[in-house]
Symmetry: C2
C-alpha cells in the first residue's frame, strides 16, 4: 500500500537541493573565514572553478538550468538557529567559543554573493567575485553541486534495480576498505570528502560506515553539517588559499618571500595545539621549511598535500630533528589522493616515528570507479582563488601538475622561493 502523503511530499520539490545548509562545508573553511574576517576583511578575491580532468565534459553532462537552480538555491540559504547555536557553543579541538561573537553575528546575516556562470565549449566557467570572507564560502558547495549533478546525470540512465545494485556494490566496496583499515593499530583517520563526494547522502553514509567500522580510529569529519548531525568531531585547519592570497597582495619580492610565514604568524595568534598545522607545499616544501622561522618548528604538525607523501614526511622529520624537535611528538597529516593501499603503506612507514593521521577524501566518498563503466569515476575538480585585489594568485605545489597562475608570475615565484626541478605526479582527484 502506497503512503500517499509521503509520496506527495517527495514529489512536491521543484528541485532536489544538493546543498541545503551553509554548514554543509568543510570546517577549515570556517576557521579560515574567521581568520580572513579578522585580518583581511576588505580584500577582494575571485574564485574560479577549474576542471583539471578536461576529458569529463561537464557542460555536456550537466544542464545549465539545473546547475543554476542549485546555485540559486544555495544563495537562499542562511545559517539556521540550531547551526549557529552549535558553532557558538560546541567544543572544537577541545576549545569552546572557537568562533567569536563578532564573526558569528556576521555569519548569521550572511547570504552567499552572486556567481557568474558561462558555458565555454564543453566546460563551465564558474566564478565568484567579491569580499574574501564571503566569496571563499562558495568553494565547497560549488564543488559539491557540480560533483553531485554529474553523478545524477550518469544515474539518470539507470533503472531502479540497477541503482539498487550500484549502491549495494559501492557500499560493499567502502565496507571492504573499512575492514582492511580496522587491522591497522592506532590508526587515526578523518573524512575529508565533502568537496568531491558522490552525493551528500552518500558522504553521510560513508561517515556512518567509518563510525561503525573504525570506532575510535575514526576521528571525525571535515563536514560541519554531518559532524553536527552525527555528533562527531569537526576536523580541519587551513589551506592553500591563505598563502596564495597573502602572496598575491604583496608588492615586492621581499614581501612575497615573507608572505607564507605572515599567514602562519596570524594563525599562530589565533590558534594553538592541534590547529597549528603547517601546510608547507604552496611554494615548495623544501624551501619553505629551510627558511622557516624557529617558532614554526614548535608547531604541532604538518599536512602533506602534494608530491610524494613519503618523501614529504621524511623531509619534515629531518627538518624537525635539525631544529631540535622530537618527531615522535609531531603530527603528520596525509591528505592527498589517499586510498586504502596508500594509507596502509604510509602507516607502515611512519607509525611510531611520528604521530600519523589521514584525511581521506575523494576515494572515500566517491569511489564508484568501474561501477558504471568509467562514467562515475572521480575527477579532479577544484575551485581556487585566482585573483586578489586584481592581482593573479600563484600556486607552485610539490607537483607541477597542480601548479597554477600566469607563466611569468609562476617563474617569478619559483625564483623567489628557490624552487628548482619538480617531479610530475598524476593527479587522480
Amino acid at each position: 500500500m502506497q503512503d500517499i502523503a509521503t509520496r506527495v511530499w517527495n514529489h512536491k520539490w521543484k528541485i532536489d537541493p544538493i546543498v541545503r545548509s551553509l554548514i554543509d562545508t568543510d570546517f577549515y573553511k570556517l576557521l579560515m573565514c574567521q581568520s580572513v574576517f579578522r585580518n583581511k576583511p576588505d580584500t577582494t578575491v575571485t574564485f574560479s572553478l577549474i576542471n583539471r580532468t578536461q576529458s569529463v565534459p561537464l557542460a555536456k553532462l550537466i544542464d545549465e538550468g539545473e546547475l543554476r537552480e542549485q546555485l540559486d538555491h544555495i544563495r537562499t540559504l542562511t545559517l539556521r538557529r540550531g547551526e549557529s547555536t552549535w558553532l557558538r557553543g560546541n567544543t572544537f579541538y577541545g576549545q569552546r567559543q572557537m568562533f567569536t561573537p563578532a564573526f558569528m553575528d556576521w555569519f548569521e546575516a550572511l547570504r552567499l554573493p552572486p556567481y557568474h556562470l558561462e558555458r565555454v565549449g564543453d566546460q563551465y566557467e564558474l566564478t565568484f567575485e567579491g569580499a574574501w570572507p564571503e566569496v571563499m564560502l562558495w568553494e565547497i558547495p560549488a564543488l559539491a553541486v557540480i560533483m553531485e549533478l554529474r553523478s545524477r546525470a550518469v544515474l539518470k540512465d539507470l533503472g531502479r534495480f540497477e541503482l539498487q545494485v550500484l549502491y549495494a556494490r559501492a557500499m560493499t566496496r567502502v565496507w571492504e576498505k573499512v575492514e582492511r583499515l580496522k587491522s591497522l593499530p592506532d590508526l587515526r583517520l578523518a573524512d575529508f570528502g565533502t568537496r568531491r563526494r558522490h552525493s551528500f547522502l552518500w558522504q553521510d553514509w560513508c561517515v556512518q560506515a567509518l563510525t561503525e567500522g573504525l570506532g575510535g580510529s575514526f576521528t571525525g569529519t571535515s563536514n560541519c553539517l554531518i559532524a553536527k548531525n552525527r555528533d562527531l568531531e569537526a576536523i580541519g585547519t587551513n589551506a592553500h588559499e591563505l598563502p596564495m592570497v597573502y602572496a598575491a597582495l604583496t608588492r615586492d619580492d621581499a614581501a612575497l618571500a615573507r608572505a607564507p610565514y605572515d599567514v602562519l604568524a596570524d594563525w599562530h595568534e589565533e590558534h594553538s595545539g592541534n590547529l597549528r598545522i603547517i601546510l608547507p607545499d604552496t611554494y615548495g616544501t623544501e624551501g619553505f621549511l629551510e627558511r622557516a622561522p624557529d617558532w614554526l618548528a614548535g608547531w604541532t604538525g604538518i599536512r602533506i598535500d602534494s608530491g610524494d607523501p613519503a618523501t614529504g614526511a621524511e623531509t619534515a622529520i629531518r627538518w624537525w630533528k635539525a631544529r631540535g624537535e622530537d618527531p615522535t611528538e609531531k603530527l603528520v597529516i596525509f591528505s592527498d589522493g589517499l586510498d586504502v593501499e596508500k594509507i596502509e603503506q604510509l602507516h607502515a612507514q611512519f607509525a611510531g616515528r611520528v604521530r600519523v593521521s589521514f584525511g581521506w577524501g575523494t576515494l572515500l566518498t566517491n569511489d564508484f570507479r568501474g561501477l558504471v563503466g568509467d562514467r562515475l569515476n572521480p575527477f579532479s575538480l577544484v575551485c581556487k582563488a585566482v585573483a586578489a585585489d586584481g592581482r593573479p594568485t600563484v600556486k607552485l605545489s610539490d607537483n607541477p601538475r597542480k601548479a597554477m597562475g600566469p607563466a611569468a608570475e609562476v617563474e617569478r615565484y619559483k625564483r623567489v622561493f628557490g624552487v628548482g626541478e619538480q617531479v610530475e605526479r598524476e593527479v587522480v582527484v
Copy 2:
C-alpha cells in the same frame, strides 16, 4: 537509514506524470470509441474543456508549463503489451473479445493527437480537434490531469505532517462512508470517479477501500487501468457524446429528431445484456421515452445522469409499465452527483421496485471538502464535444445548468425535442 537507491530513483523524474497509461481512462470511452471507429470513423470533432465552476481560477492555480508537460507526456503514451493483451483477452460484461481485432490493431498504433492550450483570463482554453475516435480519448486524461494539478497546487503549501494528517482524515472519511453503505442490503455500486479524482493514487486507494469494505456489493470500477491492476470488473456503457455528435451531424429537423435513436440502434447491433443501458437525458428524458421505439423498452436499463434522480427513475418505471415491461427486471443506474446520503435515499426508494445500481464519482474519489479550507473542494469540470464536422453540438439535459450549445441551436433542439420548462438544480460536480 536512508535507502539511497530508492531516493535517487524517486528524484530522477523530471515530472511526476499523472496519466501514465492509455487505459487510465473510463471503460465506456473505449466501448464508445470502438463504436465510433466502426460507425463514424471519418467524423471530425472538437472537444473542449469547460470549467462550470468559474470561481476556481484554474490558470492562476496551475502553471501552464506544468500543464503542457503533463499533456505532452500523455502524447508519448502508447498501449502497452500487457494492456493490449488484457483488452483483447479479458471478459467484459461476461463477454470475451469485446474489442475486435481491427479496433485493437488501430488502438495499438494510436498516439493521442495534438492539443491546443491557451490561457484566457484566469481559465485555460484547452481544445482537441481531429478524427472522432482519436480526439474522444483525450476527455478523461485531460480532466484527470487538470484535477490532479489543481490538487498538487493546493498541496504545495502543506508541510509533511499536514499532508499526513490530510490523507488520514480523507481516508477516515471514505471509510466512514463505506461503513454506512455496508448496511444497505443488496447494494450494487461501482467507482465512476476517474475524471474528477483527487489523484490517481487516491482513486486507486478508494477502489481498494471499496473492495475491502463492500465485498460483493462493489461491482467494479470505470477505470480500466485500475480494473486490470486490481482484478476488478471494468464498468461503463455509453455517454452523451454519442447523441450529441450524431445530432450535430444531421441536416434537418426530422433527422435530428431521429438521431438519439440512431445512436442506440447502432449500439443495439453491437451490444447485448447489461451493456444495453439507455442514457435518455441528452435532449430531455420525458420526450425521449415518449417517442422511443418499442425495441428500446426491451433494453436492460437506464442511466439517470441529470435532473432529480428520483423523478427520473419514477418516469422510467412508468414508461416501462406503459410499454408492458416488468420494472423489477430492469436496471436503473444512478450516476449524477452522488454521495452517501443520496445513495441511501435512492436505495430506500427504489430497492425491490427495480434493480438499482450506483455509479459513484467525484464525491467518492475527490471528497476533500473542508480539509484545506475550501481549497480542495471538488468543482465541475467537463470536457465535451462542442462541434462535429464544423457544426456545433447541443446538450439540453434534464438540468438547464448542464445545457450547452449556441442559443439559437438550443432553441431549435428544444422545439424539435419538445422540451418545455425545466427545473434548475445546482451542479456540485
